[in-house]
Every structure is written in structure tokens, then in C-alpha cells.
């Protein structure tokens, strides 16, 4: 069979560039569909035709109520879902490249917990000891605090779990458990200190939701995600080389230490800022890159932009489901992503090519 196929071997053998381009194209279509679904579904259905009329400036077919819902609720929520999903998936993909380990998801290794703790600290202490900082930073206070929380955890993780350029999966996951527990303990302390309004906010962060979407939140997360997207072309080649090890990457001309510093900052920026505006939404960072590696291969040239598109699409679809299955009540979006993502994580650990049972390089 193999011998018969030989003469017809295409010249693109082993090169997945064209596949990568095709998958990116399909992801763009998926993302557009996801945006339409997100704008369409809800207690007040806004017809797809009406959406088209609105987008092209012929907004006559919408009632005033529909227009208000679309502009004040659906549009910011969709924009937020897009940014948050893209940020979560790209931070996951980058982190997996940095740690050379497909299990390294910010949620699993504790970066999300760290960022969440910082966000909750900001909520509780923002009126007290940190008030001057909160005033000075305004809208960016929460995402910046979460960013520094995430940065601290990523840096600590890297320092603990990576020796001589090799990351121990065991150390990584155990670190995640320890950091998660520590963050939980501090969270408990802060909850005791919090008042009623702050308690509601804290509950919201810990479950994860796009419910409170406003243009203010969209604007506060936008610069962080824009920064992360902008550096993708500059880190993709380096992350590919890094998969072969620190030394090999250096031999191929990659300034390894600088690359790692940039990637750590980007992971913290994407993860921290999304946690600040939408809470801890798990598994997007592990599911999307994993599925994309199956579809297009592990090269970061396509994996990173693909994760941005796919993460946005997945989160918008998950949010649409969260809003509709139990209507008029709304499920926390983290429930939906965990229902879908936890099995994928388990499959990664124990499946045919399971990596939990062997030591990773």
C-alpha cells in the first residue's frame, strides 16, 4: 500500500504550511459564525437579517428595545467573549511552548489562581490600603493587579519547575496544586474581610462569567490582549525552536533568555487581564491548543493565531450555551468549559498518546 502511494508523493510531504493556512481560514469563518450566534441568541432574539441590516447601517428593522439590548448588552458581551477567549487560548498555547509541555495550562498550574487572588485583593483592598493606587489607575487597576499576580506565579513556577531548561511535569502540576491552595487560603481571609457587595463580586470572579460585560471592561482588557497578539509574530519561531530545548534553540540563533522573559510577561498579561474582567474560566487554554495541534501540527506560526481565533469562537459558543440552556437563569460559563475541557485534559493524561504516564523531556 505504502509502496503504491510512493510515486504519487506530493512535494508538500511533511510540510503543513498549506494545512495551517486552511485551518486558519476555517477558524475565521467559525469565529464569524460564533459572533453572529452570540449576538443572536437570548431572551430577545435579534434576527440574523436584522443584524445584517444594523451592521450595514440600515437599522430600521430593529425595535428600540432590540437596539438597546444589542448595543448595551450583546455587543459588549460578544466583544468581551472574543477578547477573553483569545487571551485564554493564546496564554495556554504560549505557556505550553515555554514549558515544553502540553499540560501547562494557566488554570491548571495556578497562574489563574494567582491572578484571581490579586484581582480579589484589588476588590477588597481597593477601597482601603490600595485606594491611592486604585484611583491613579482607574479602569486599569483591576487588570493590572491581576497581571502582576499572574506574572508572579508564572515566574515562581518557572523558577521551581524548570532546571537546566527541562521542566518536570510532576513539579509543574504539584506547584499548581500548592499555589492554588495558597491562593485559596488568602482568598478565604479576604472573603472574611469583604462586605456584601464585595462578596458578590468575589463569587462572580471565582465562577467566571461574561455576565457583567460593559464597554468599560472591554476597554480595560483590550490593551493587554492587543499587546499579546502583537508579539505573536516575534515569538512564534523562537517557541518552535524552544521545543527542541534551550540549548538547541540557542544554537539556532534564538536569544533564549529574552524570548522567555517576553513570553512569561505575555502569558501573565493575557491570563491576568482576562481573569480580571471575566473571572477564572478554566480549560480554554488547554482544549483549544490541543485540538489545533491535532488539526494543523504544533508549529507556533499557526498555533498561536489559530488559538486566538479558536479560543474566541469557543468561548462565544460556550457563553451562548450558558445563556440559553437554563433560561431565564444563566449558567456560569466556567461550568460549560469545564464540562467540555476536563475530559480533554483526562484524555491528554491517559489516552493513546497519554503523557501523564511517562516523563516529558
Amino acid at each position: 500500500m505504502k509502496a503504491l502511494a510512493m510515486p504519487f508523493r506530493r512535494t508538500g510531504e511533511g510540510d503543513r504550511t498549506s494545512r495551517g493556512v486552511l485551518v486558519l481560514f476555517l477558524l475565521v469563518i467559525l469565529l464569524v459564525l460564533a459572533c453572529l450566534i452570540s449576538l443572536h441568541v437570548g431572551p430577545t432574539g435579534v434576527g440574523i437579517g436584522d443584524l445584517w441590516a444594523y451592521a450595514t447601517g440600515k437599522g430600521d428593522s430593529l425595535t428600540t428595545q432590540e437596539r438597546v439590548i444589542l448595543e448595551a448588552v450583546r455587543l459588549p458581551r460578544t466583544a468581551l467573549g472574543l477578547l477573553v477567549g483569545a487571551g485564554l487560548a493564546v496564554s495556554g498555547a504560549m505557556m505550553q511552548g515555554l514549558f515544553r509541555n502540553p499540560l501547562a495550562d494557566p488554570g491548571i498550574v495556578g497562574v489563574t489562581s494567582g491572578a484571581g487572588l490579586a484581582a480579589v485583593s484589588a476588590i477588597v483592598l481597593g477601597g482601603g490600603v490600595l485606594a491611592p493606587v486604585a484611583l491613579a489607575l482607574g479602569n486599569q487597576f483591576l487588570p493590572l493587579m491581576a497581571f502582576f499576580g499572574g506574572l508572579l506565579v508564572t515566574w515562581v513556577l518557572y523558577a521551581i519547575a524548570t532546571r537546566d531548561g527541562r521542566t518536570s511535569t510532576t513539579a509543574l502540576i504539584l506547584c499548581g496544586i500548592a499555589i492554588g491552595a495558597l491562593a485559596g487560603a488568602f482568598m478565604g481571609l479576604l472573603i472574611v474581610m469583604a462586605d456584601d457587595r464585595q462578596l458578590r463580586d468575589i463569587t462572580f470572579w471565582s465562577l467566571g462569567s461574561l455576565g457583567g460585560a460593559t464597554y468599560g471592561r472591554v476597554l480595560s482588557v483590550l490593551p493587554f490582549i492587543a499587546f499579546v497578539m502583537a508579539i505573536i509574530p516575534f515569538v512564534a519561531k523562537g517557541l518552535d525552536a524552544l521545543i527542541l530545548g534551550d540549548a538547541a534553540a540557542f544554537h539556532m540563533g534564538i536569544p533564549v533568555q529574552r524570548l522567555k522573559r517576553i513570553v512569561i510577561v505575555a502569558v501573565a498579561a493575557a491570563c491576568g487581564s482576562t481573569v480580571a474582567v471575566a473571572g477564572a474560566i478554566g480549560f480554554v487554554g488547554i482544549v483549544v491548543p490541543h485540538l489545533l495541534r491535532l488539526a494543523m501540527g504544533p508549529s507556533h506560526r499557526f498555533l498561536l493565531p489559530g488559538s486566538a481565533l479558536g479560543g474566541g469562537a469557543l468561548l462565544l459558543i460556550a457563553d451562548s450555551v450558558a445563556r440559553t440552556v437554563a433560561a431565564p437563569a444563566e449558567l456560569p460559563i466556567g461550568v460549560i468549559t469545564a464540562l467540555f475541557g476536563a475530559p480533554v485534559f483526562l484524555f491528554l493524561l491517559i489516552g493513546k498518546n497519554g503523557i501523564g504516564m511517562r516523563d516529558l523531556p
Binding site: 510512493m6 508523493r9 510531504e13 511533511g14 510540510d15 503543513r16 515544553r100 509541555n101 502540553p102 519561531k237 518552535d240 525552536a241 521545543i243 527542541l244 530545548g245 540549548a247 538547541a248 540557542f250 544554537h251 539556532m252 540563533g253 534564538i254 536569544p255 533564549v256 495541534r293 501540527g297 504544533p298 508549529s299 503523557i355 516529558l360 523531556p361
Partner: protein, 260 residues
């Protein structure tokens, strides 16, 4: 010319390499031998610029290696590491292509294909690296190094190839073909430094043999001057093994005999 001048590397109070001076000359195949822990890999790391020595200097054509940007260094030399495992399923072609990209090839896919066929892996382009055997993986890595320095000399400046145990996990035939490819690289004006454990292969291929022991160069020069009963006995603790036929009931295979 790549020169290490009096380099010393210490780790936790022990000198891994101790005041070593060595020149890599264009057109020369240099082989480093020595027992485990002699400092062979450390010497290679220092020469390739990966590790900064605690004292002493490494220079590439007069420029200190510390002053070279990683990207410039990557165009000057390529390194074949010891066994590399991957957690992500890159194809053989994608791995080799990384070398071509580091070299700045205009058509990296084409360069990668050429390099793969030079190591006898034509037809393996789309194989996922993690599913290949240890020997095949080693040859993919060799292809990556070749793709990074496809020409031994560019604009009159020789390129260097550093090979850390290139024959580990290869069968006898592939051991020889990999070393022949490296020798061709040297014959065409490039510089080759290889760490070998197989003394017969070292004796056949080395133009210049360097014997390391306890971090020091204990012998250096053409093989016929360097390899002696005394040297093997003092470094490896095996006496009376040079140039003698074993007892009649033990078959022996000397690959270098094929060229008689």
C-alpha cells in the same frame, strides 16, 4: 578558525575542564575522546558559545564569542546535541526546516528536504518525530544541523559542525555514513568537532585527536601518534588493547578495515 584559549569551567568546586587550549582548523576533522565525565561535552558547550567559561577566551575568527549575537553565531556553526525527546509531534521535515530557517535559507523546505536525503531519510519527511526510532531521531537532528550550515565555506569563511556523540544509537552502517558526511564537510573546507566513544571510529576519521581526562588534555595530535597502549591504559584502564588481534574464538569487526 575557532580558538579556545586556556579555558576553565568550574561547577560546585570541581573543574569540569581545566586550562584547555584547542584550535579548530578549517579542513580538519577533530575528534574528542575520553572516559565519562572527562569534560568532553563541557568543552563542546564552551566552544559552541552555549556556556561561558569561568576563565579563558573562545573566539571565532578573532571575535570573542561573548560579543557574537546568537543569530550570527547560528550562521557560523551548527550543533548536533545528544538524544533529544519532544513532547510535540513535529514532522521530520519541520525539525530539519528549523535549521534551514536559522541559516536564513530562501527556500527552507527545499533545504530541509536536501538535508534529510543526505542523512538517508528521504521519504521520512512527514513522519512525526516522536514516533521515530532513536537512531532515526538522531539522523533528523543531524539533518537539522546540516541544514543550518549547508555549505562548509561561505564567502571564504568556513562554517563549523559540532557533533556530540553523533553515532550514539546508530547502527554500524549509519555510524559510518554520518561520519563520512561530516568528513566530506571538513574536506570541503569546514571545521568539524565530534565527540566519539568508539575509539575505532575515532581512529579512522580523526585528522586530529584530542584525548581528555579529568578535564585536561592528556594527548593531542594525529591518531597514529596519539593512540598508544600507554595512553589507553592510563585513560581507560584497559591495557594491551592497541593493534592486537583478540583470542581466536572471539570474532571481531573493525569498520576501518573496509578501506584496505
Amino acid at each position: 578558525m575557532i580558538i579556545a584559549d586556556n579555558v576553565t569551567v568550574s561547577r560546585s568546586g570541581r573543574k569540569l575542564i581545566d586550562s584547555i587550549s584547542i584550535d579548530l582548523k578549517p579542513g580538519q576533522f577533530t575528534v574528542v575522546i575520553g572516559p565519562n565525565g572527562a569534560g568532553k561535552s563541557t568543552l563542546m558547550k564552551v566552544l559552541s558559545g552555549e556556556m561561558t567559561p569561568d576563565s579563558g577566551l573562545v573566539s571565532y575568527y578573532g571575535t570573542s564569542v561573548d560579543l557574537c549575537q546568537p543569530a550570527n553565531l547560528a550562521k557560523r556553526r551548527a550543533v548536533l546535541p545528544q538524544a533529544t525527546q519532544l513532547a510535540f509531534p513535529f514532522t521530520a521535515l519541520e525539525i530539519a526546516r528549523m535549521g534551514a530557517v536559522a541559516h536564513g535559507a530562501l527556500n527552507p523546505n527545499e533545504e530541509a528536504r536536501k538535508a534529510l536525503s543526505r542523512v538517508g531519510l528521504r521519504g521520512f519527511e512527514s513522519r512525526p518525530y516522536p514516533s521515530m526510532s532513536g537512531g532515526e531521531q538522531q539522523r533528523v537532528q543531524f539533518a537539522r544541523a546540516l541544514a543550518q550550515v549547508p555549505q562548509p565555506v561561505v564567502d571564504g569563511i568556513p562554517r563549523a559542525l559540532f557533533l556530540d556523540e553523533p553515532t550514539a544509537s546508530l547502527d554500524l552502517g549509519h555510524q559510518i555514513s554520518v561520519l563520512e558526511t561530516a568528513r566530506d564537510f571538513a574536506s570541503a573546507g569546514g571545521m568539524v568537532l565530534a565527540i566519539l566513544h568508539d575509539l575505532n571510529l575515532a581512529a579512522e576519521f580523526a585528522d586530529h585527536l584530542v584525548v581528555l581526562h579529568h578535564g585536561r588534555v592528556v594527548a593531542e595530535g594525529p591518531c597514529h601518534e596519539t593512540v598508544s597502549d600507554e595512553m589507553i591504559a592510563s585513560v581507560y584502564g584497559i591495557a594491551g588493547a592497541v593493534g592486537r588481534v583478540p583470542a581466536s574464538h572471539i570474532p571481531y569487526i573493525l569498520p576501518q578495515s573496509r578501506n584496505r
